[in-house]
């Protein structure tokens, strides 16, 4: 097969990695936005966030059978299961004082370990295989290059999710309450909205987002014994790079991670093992508050 170069030859080989970086970045965005919400809004450091993604991933592996109906079913089951797990976490966290990050970290880390063991006990130690709908299993031509059809569709779906998330936060009453809770939690409490309810709602919503990312992203970051750790690590890097409470910052950080992990690896394969963390250290050295500023000045 001879590909017709779409641009100058120096750039052409890196088109696909750059495109793939967008897919990877959007996946990291959807997966990490839940953690950013938890941390930024409810002030909860949820180290079990990777587990919520893994629940979605394992659901996808168990339910998907190559048909469209199973994809819808997997999405529904994965989102509900992960949201329920998030709500359960909120319940477990009730006795822990808000803002006591050490206790929260210990509790949620324990839950992550126990939940991870339960998933392995239930689904086996091997990485389960994910079967996407047959129509998406092939590849398509993009500017003279072959690219996996599923990942191309995923970019569209994840972009829609990101826009929907933005609209919910900016335009709905729930979104307003959440933003108000970031700005002035005492005032929100005075208005008669229980912070505990906001916390439970935020954790459940974070779970739903992670669950959706887990189901849709299963063919990209697949379910396995170390999936939860991988996703938690990437999400924490997003928090460090993107700051808290700004969706633009989160999106920017996630896309940066995506490009570093794909385009960066294509450009500098020998640096692949430490590229992500070198980039993180560089950003922190230059700009300690991450890529974007916060809404809240503390």
């Amino acid at each position: 097969m001879i590909a017709v170069a779409a641009g100058p030859n120096r750039i052409d080989p890196y088109l696909i990695p750059a495109l793939d970086g967008v897919a990877y970045g959007l996946l990291v965005f959807v997966a990490a936005s839940g953690l950013v919400f938890c941390f930024g809004v409810a002030n909860i450091l949820n180290l079990a966030h990777g587990l919520l993604y893994a629940i979605g991933g394992y659901t996808a592996a168990a339910v998907l059978d190559g048909g469209w109906a199973s994809l819808a079913l997997a999405l529904a089951v994965g989102v509900l299961a992960a949201a329920a797990a998030g709500a359960l976490l909120a319940g477990l966290l009730t006795p822990v004082a808000t803002g006591n990050h050490l206790s929260q970290a210990l509790l949620t880390f324990g839950v992550a370990l126990a939940g991870g063991s339960l998933l392995v006990a239930g689904f086996g130690p091997d990485d389960p295989q994910v079967r996407v709908p047959a129509a998406l299993e092939g590849s398509v031509m993009v500017a003279g290059h072959r690219y996996a059809a599923y990942r191309l569709v995923f970019i569209v779906v994840a972009a829609v999710l990101a826009v929907a998330l933005y609209l919910v936060v900016r335009r709905t009453r729930a979104g307003m309450l959440v933003r108000a809770a970031v700005d002035d939690p005492e005032m929100v409490a005075c208005l008669g909205v229980s912070p505990a309810r906001i916390r439970a709602g935020v954790l459940a919503a974070a779970g739903a987002l992670a669950g959706a990312a887990g189901v849709l992203g299963a063919p990209i970051i697949g379910p396995g014994t170390d999936t939860a750790d991988t996703v938690l690590l990437l999400s924490l890097v997003v928090v460090v790079l993107g700051g808290l409470g700004s969706m633009a910052g989160t999106l920017l950080a996630a896309l940066a991670i995506g490009e570093i992990q794909t385009l960066g690896v294509a450009l500098l394969p020998s640096a692949a093992p430490f590229l992500l963390f070198a980039a993180m250290a560089a950003v922190l050295a230059v700009r300690a508050r991450g890529l974007a500023g916060r809404w809240r000045t503390t």
């Binding site: 890196y14 696909i16 394969p269």
Partner: protein, 397 residues
């Protein structure tokens, strides 16, 4: 839990403890491994949990199949097989092996999936002077006087296929593999032999590209580089879930039409089912294929299929052969098959008939001198399977 345990449960604990102690003392009184009834104790150590569970299970089942088809006897003696779990590596393997060697006092040890586990167990073997007939992992070892392997050395698959790739690929070859000891050995085997016969690597710096392991799950950035290098073929080695990711993404990538050659583990056993259509046409090199046409293999495959779903893998075969080696060595060790006598007998076995074809132990490495086969993933009835398309070199040193 209450601070004071009720008297009855304390009594029960004491009784249990006493029973355990009595039993272990009784074991300690036995002569090592053999007993008056003409039976012999063999220890099998394999990963029955963790990452390598699939391989460990095949190894256990391969050995058990030999026993089942030979009246449960090796060398005319009834076998008391003690199975222990190797877990994920040396950390769990060494305590398990120590129990087999010191408490159960087995006459010989077999199995062991990981090379690191073998390295960890070696000092205990030397201390107890018990031979190991390993059926998979084989690290670099200084002293192999009591260590034998029915598998292969990690650099042999690549060395065996190099000439075929040189003859059939018109152009340079891109070498890529996982960044750990096993990956280095597998790829070095290929690149050294390929370089010696005048082959040219397509990698920009002339060196193999190694991907972080096990962190790499997305191979697209590397595929872009392979595409840009203008390679006429790719040689690789991955196993387990990395093999599934690599093959599935390769089939959907812009280099899907570049021929892919690999060490056989890329498409061996369970990973082939997971790869499905994406694995079609991949060439691989291995010391065994279930469709080999010889009498031993037909009997082996038929016996295997009677008990298990699917075809036997090279892992099951190596363990089956380990049982065959022990069978002949125990028989040759005379009326008192001590571990020492068994070890000496293994060294004098000569040619060993096997489902993979006849092979023998190398006198220097104690691993097989054996023929390697070129296989291609093709349709076989309803499923895809590795089909032998030719003989490659006989390798061993």
């Amino acid at each position: 839990m209450p601070l004071t345990t009720p008297w009855r449960s304390r009594a029960l604990t004491a009784a249990l403890l006493a029973t355990v102690l009595t039993t272990s003392t009784a074991c300690g009184d036995d002569a090592p491994g053999t007993s008056a009834g003409g039976s012999i104790k063999i220890g099998l150590l394999a990963s029955l949990s963790g990452t390598y569970q699939a391989v460990g299970t095949e190894i256990r089942d391969g050995f058990q199949l030999y026993l089942d088809t030979h009246d449960g006897k090796l060398g005319g003696r009834q076998v008391d097989l003690v199975v222990a779990d190797e877990g994920n590596g040396a950390q769990t393997a060494v305590p398990a092996a120590t129990k087999l060697l010191k408490q159960d006092r087995v006459s010989a040890l077999t199995g062991i999936v990981g090379g690191g586990s073998v390295a960890g167990v070696t000092p205990v073997l030397n201390e107890t002077k018990v031979p190991l007939v390993g059926s998979n992992g084989r690290p670099e070892l200084k002293d192999v006087s009591r260590i034998w392997h029915t598998s292969y050395l990690s650099d042999e698959p690549g060395a065996a296929i190099a000439q075929h790739v040189r003859d059939n690929v018109k152009g340079s070859v891109y070498a890529i593999g996982p960044d750990y000891q096993g990956g280095w050995d597998e790829l070095r085997g290929f690149t050294d032999a390929f370089d010696k016969i005048g082959g040219k690597l397509a990698n920009p710096d002339g060196k193999t590209t190694f991907t972080p392991f096990p962190a790499t799950t997305n191979f697209l950035p590397y595929f872009a580089r392979i595409k840009a290098s203008g390679a006429a073929a790719v040689y690789t080695f991955y196993a387990g879930s990395a093999a599934v990711d690599f093959v599935k993404q390769y089939a959907q990538s812009e280099i899907k039409d570049i021929p892919l050659y690999a060490a056989g583990f890329l498409t061996e056993g369970g990973v082939l089912n997971a790869q499905g259509e994406a694995a079609r046409d991949i060439y691989s090199v291995l010391n065994y294929s279930p469709d080999l046409d010889n009498a031993e293999n037909r009997a082996f495959v038929a016996a295997w299929k009677a008990k298990h779903d699917g075809s036997p893998t090279t892992y099951a075969l190596a363990s089956y052969d380990a049982a065959a080696v022990l069978d002949r060595a125990i028989g040759a060790a005379g009326s008192d098959p001590t571990p020492e006598a068994i070890n000496t007998a293994i060294g004098q076995l000569g040619q060993i008939a096997s489902p993979r074809g006849t092979w023998q132990f190398s006198t220097t490495t104690h691993s097989p001198v054996q023929k390697w086969y070129l296989r291609q993933v093709r349709q076989d009835g309803r499923a895809l399977s590795n089909t032998v398309v030719g003989d490659l070199a006989t390798v061993g040193r």
